[in-house]
């Protein structure tokens, strides 16, 4: 019954992905905790938090693909929502340190003490409570996205113009969070976390728990986006992506649809960020760097834009490559990474899944093709106004 309901809303691939993720979320921690270090199947703690990190990136990619792949909104600033969620979580973790900070100040985080701030800024209040922080993790990015989108979509900012102002957004936030006066620890950011919900963040068990949580949330994200994509709303979104004004003439308030999916996506990114912070142990303004957001776009493109699990594959693959290359050939790894991007765009235009799709399409009739919701060739994201006399 439930499974049947489940599969009406998730396509086969999405379903498989979800099942795999749940399995991963259970098995990896178990192998890390129960199996002896000697066992070949034992996964060392650093791999656990490493893969955990990848999965949070994957979640960011899924969120980004929801707006870009299915609604044609190319955001070059999704890192901002990720980072904001991260900061919300970071602030909770800071408050948890309490008197164990180096200055043993019961309330103020260390960086405030040595910049001799007298008392806690108003926006830091409440973050000592996990659930409040958790709420902020989704609300702060959500509200920012809503406000931003409400402005942008209503005044019909589209294509590259939208992309660039999203970049401006994250860039402005980057500069803002760099300022020490903002009260977020300046360029050093928030760090030296002690524990989360009373468990020591350093402990292997906590790491495994965080990993499991990440995997499950990612599964949830996959479910939510495939639920959206397979609903009639999803059809509307793809319609907007391919022929925005046509949707208007059919009577759809395009701006509202965009706003809805944009906000959802931002919240997803926020959650990803919140899961990211305790696993890497620091959050600082560099997360806002436009380059990071662009990389996220690249993960999606590599994996396959407009597919549910493509972004996951892309994010994991690229970051795994990064980890591997930076250790294997530290001197020249950028060549490898750069080459990867070039090769992917030239030879896998629709990403890795796209290749799989078109391969499938080649040996089966076009009926099969309907399952592929790969983006139409004509891309809406760049519209250079062509001067044109009326009719």
């Amino acid at each position: 019954m439930i499974t049947q309901w489940f599969f009406t809303h998730v396509d086969r691939r999405g379903g498989v992905a979800i099942v795999l993720l749940v399995a991963l979320g259970l098995l990896v921690p178990l192998s890390n905790l129960l199996l002896p270090v000697t066992s070949p199947f034992h996964i060392p703690t650093y791999l656990v938090s490493l893969i955990g990190k990848y999965l949070t990136y994957a979640m960011l990619a899924v969120a980004l693909d929801l707006v870009w792949g299915f609604c044609g909104i190319l955001s070059l600033g999704h890192g901002a929502f990720f980072a904001l969620g991260g900061y919300a979580m970071g602030m909770y973790l800071m408050r948890q340190i309490g008197p164990r900070g180096v200055y043993a100040d019961p309330i103020l985080p260390d960086f405030m003490v040595f910049l001799n701030w007298k008392d806690l800024p108003w926006f830091w209040h409440g973050f000592d409570n996990f659930w409040f922080a958790a709420l902020m993790v989704v609300l702060v990015p959500g509200i920012l996205a809503f406000g931003f989108g409400w402005l942008a979509f209503r005044s019909r900012v589209t294509g590259v113009y939208l992309s660039i102002i999203t970049q401006a957004l994250t860039y402005a936030l980057l500069l803002a969070f760099f300022r020490n006066d903002m009260g977020f620890g300046g360029n050093n950011g928030l760090t030296d976390f002690k524990d989360i919900l009373g468990f020591n963040v350093q402990a292997g068990s906590t790491r495994s728990a965080l990993f499991a949580a990440t995997a499950l949330f990612l599964a949830l994200a996959v479910f939510v986006s495939s639920f959206i994509v397979r609903s009639k709303l999803g059809k509307v979104l793809v319609g907007v992506r391919d022929a925005e004004s046509r949707m208007r003439f059919l009577g759809y308030r395009v701006d509202r649809y965009k706003l809805f999916v944009w906000t959802i996506s931002a919240m997803m990114a926020g959650i990803a960020g919140a899961l990211y912070v305790p696993q890497v142990g620091i959050i600082n303004p560099s997360e806002f760097e436009p380059a990071n957001s662009i990389e996220a776009v690249i993960w999606v493109a590599v994996g396959g834009r407009g597919t549910i699990i493509g972004p996951i594959i892309g994010a994991v693959l690229v970051n795994f490559g990064k980890t591997y290359f930076t250790a294997a050939f530290p001197e020249i790894w950028l060549f490898a990474l750069g080459a990867l991007f070039i090769v992917v765009t030239l030879f896998l235009p629709k990403g890795i899944l796209g290749v799989y799709g078109s391969w499938k399409a080649r040996n089966s009739d076009h009926v099969a093709r309907k399952k592929e919701s790969a983006p139409a060739a004509a891309d809406e994201t760049l519209q250079i106004p062509e001067p044109q006399a009326a009719e």
Binding site: P44, T45, Y46, L47, S49, L50, K53, P99, R100, G101, V102, Y103, A104, D105, D110, F111, V113, F114, L115, N116, L175, F178, R179, N180, G185, G186, N187, N188, G189, T191, D192, F193, K194, Q202, V280, G281, I282, N284, S286, E287, L317, F320, G321, K322, T323, Y324, T326, A327, A328, P330, E331, W333, L334, V343, F347, L348, I352, V355, W359
Partner: protein, 432 residues
């Protein structure tokens, strides 16, 4: 096309397999001692950090010529954290857990140090940090061989006040934590010396700031109030070149408004035509122009190693040199590379520094060093105009910050505490 694609996927798969092999716990041969080098080789910080990577390789090479340590050869493990702070943490973990390095030498920015700090404490490994920083930190697992604010900023200000008769101060910095803290300390210090607030101008700029017209002309204005004025610059690496170019072009001579910098060394000057800058100052614990045999020797070998006799040396290199030798000496003394053993033996270890004297590791994991003040020469070198008579002990907890003036740090047993509060008599922030 599809053929190519197939081949591409093939290579991908190959890379993946190779990688998974690389990541599976290393079965390293045990006859070498591994040393991790954690400096950015790409991204914004590569400018400064690449040199330190080379320095470490050079030092390890030299040490191996002398027969290594404990009869074993040293083996360098180089990774590239790419100026990306979370990646620093990941790489640190990889070095310690997977490559099983005995110690790590690395980091430049405070952010990178802060992001790896928890890793080293959790895994109880060693980090040697070779760059001047804002202080306000002392970890059992980290050894700070760069300058603390009192080993750089305060002597420099004293010099300007005494020798140049400066009464009016511009504290210009990048909006980082290091400049913020240093300037806070300096302001407190100057006020304590009776400098009024209207004689102090504090100015912050974004990282990588490149348009200095307004600020330089503001400095000029501030300087034309009849009192002798100087600029104390904590401007971060990238922004310095355009800053000095603007200074030079707007004709601010060192005789009129001298600029003393804490993060401009030989390396940074390499990108500049220094003729118009002669006389501007920098405060460090080492200059390439130091007149000492050990220094001359070091420079000679360095040039030989890099096969480039234009290659300059600078303060963080000396700090690396000191840190490395201290580690070697401590390991020899302890007879093992075990972290706890090294941490116990290294305090009090004293090795020659490159300015003729010798530096000692203090219980607070900072070291003693002389403070040198140099004037820029037209050949891009510094002419040392002042040197502290004795050695200065690195002060991790500044006496000029209300939050930290009561704190001391002593990692020797039994105290073994990084932030002991002398007033409350309690060790502040130790967990569990």
């Amino acid at each position: 096309m599809c053929n190519l694609t197939a081949r591409f996927i093939g290579t991908l798969a190959a890379a993946a397999i190779g990688a998974s092999l690389a990541l599976s716990p290393a079965t390293a041969a045990e006859e070498t001692i591994k040393v991790g080098i954690l400096h950015s080789l790409s991204g914004t910080m590569a400018i400064s950090e690449t040199t330190l990577k080379d320095t470490m390789l050079f030092l390890i090479d030299e040490q191996n010529k002398k027969g290594g340590v404990l009869g074993k050869k040293l083996e360098a493990v180089v990774v590239d954290p790419a100026s990306d702070w979370p990646l620093f943490a990941e790489k640190a973990r990889q070095l310690v857990e997977q490559d099983k390095v005995a110690a790590v030498f690395g980091c430049w920015t405070s952010s990178s140090r802060k992001s790896v700090l928890p890793v080293f404490e959790e895994l109880n490994s060693l980090l040697f940090y070779p760059v001047q920083y804002e202080g306000e930190e002392s970890s059992r697992n980290v050894f700070y061989t760069g300058a603390a604010p009192n080993q750089q900023a305060i002597p420099a200000v004293d010099y300007l006040a005494k020798e140049e008769g400066v009464e009016r101060w511009v504290l210009a910095g990048t909006d980082y934590v290091y400049p913020q803290t240093t300037n806070k300390i300096l302001k407190a210090y100057l006020n304590a010396k009776g400098v009024k607030d209207e004689d102090i101008m504090i100015n912050y700029t974004p990282f990588g700031h490149s348009d200095w017209q307004t600020i330089v002309s503001d400095i000029k204005k501030f300087g034309s109030a009849g009192k002798k004025t100087a600029v104390v610059s904590t401007i971060n690496g990238d922004a310095n070149v355009p800053f000095y170019k603007e200074l030079a072009n707007q004709g601010i001579k060192a005789e009129d408004i001298p600029v003393v910098a804490f993060s401009v060394g030989e390396e940074e000057l390499a990108g500049l035509d220094t003729k118009p800058l002669v006389g501007h100052l920098a405060a460090w614990n080492y200059f390439q122009s130091v007149d000492a045999d050990v220094n001359a020797e070091f420079i000679k070998e360095w040039h030989a190693y890099t096969k480039n006799d234009k290659r300059v040396t600078n303060d963080p290199m000396e700090a690396t040199y000191i840190g490395f030798n201290m580690w070697v000496k401590a390991v020899e003394a302890a007879g093992s590379t075990d972290s706890d053993a090294v941490i116990d033996t290294i305090v009090g270890v004293s090795v020659p520094n490159l300015s003729g004297g010798s530096s000692t590791m203090m219980p607070n994991h900072h070291i003693t060093k002389p403070v040198l003040i140099g004037e820029v020469q037209d050949d891009g070198q510094f002419d040392i105009v002042y040197q502290t008579p004795g050695l200065v002990v690195g002060d991790e907890w500044s006496d000029y910050l209300p939050g930290s003036k009561d704190l001391i740090s002593d990692w020797r047993k039994p105290m073994s505490c990084g932030n002991f509060n002398v007033v409350s008599g309690k060790c502040g922030g130790v967990t569990n």
